[in-house]
Subunit: 97 residues, 2 copies
Amino acid sequence: MIRHVVMFTWNPEATEEQKAAVPAGLAELPGRIPQIRRYEYGPGVNPGNKDFVLVADFDDHEDFVTYRDHPDHREFIDRCVAPIAADLARVQYRLHG
Amino acid sequence: MIRHVVMFTWNPEATEEQKAAVPAGLAELPGRIPQIRRYEYGPGVNPGNKDFVLVADFDDHEDFVTYRDHPDHREFIDRCVAPIAADLARVQYRLHG
């Protein structure tokens, strides 16, 4: 299994509506991208740390790449994430077990 | 449940021995800090992204704080992580379900 983790800081100008569109948009992706095995996400709870995180699991690295480059995923990023993301940190790693 | 996610970029000068000491040190913490419910970590597999990630689950935010401030955890950070970490990104969020 490959786990993909990405976390964001939102722009100070991001509206509550824009922030709410992120989990709403993410909720649609597992139904459209069958390579997603597990998909967990949510807003950060501690000020000073990152604002939002997504943890996504795939059977292998090829499935992760299929997800990464999937048109519905890219469209979601362009529409919901890119306009409000001040920075992003991400990593993919092999899940034990 | 509260999930704590932290990811690191290592200094270019970090040795393989120093990098290997991180998972070795993490492996000891669940036996010493009973608040840890789940503990998964590993090196990143894609160049250009972060080098290492830890995903840790706790029953509640208080347990996370107990872990964060636990002397064995702090000692591990001071000894193994701080000397080789170029940067760090972290977030805590409420796990669904």
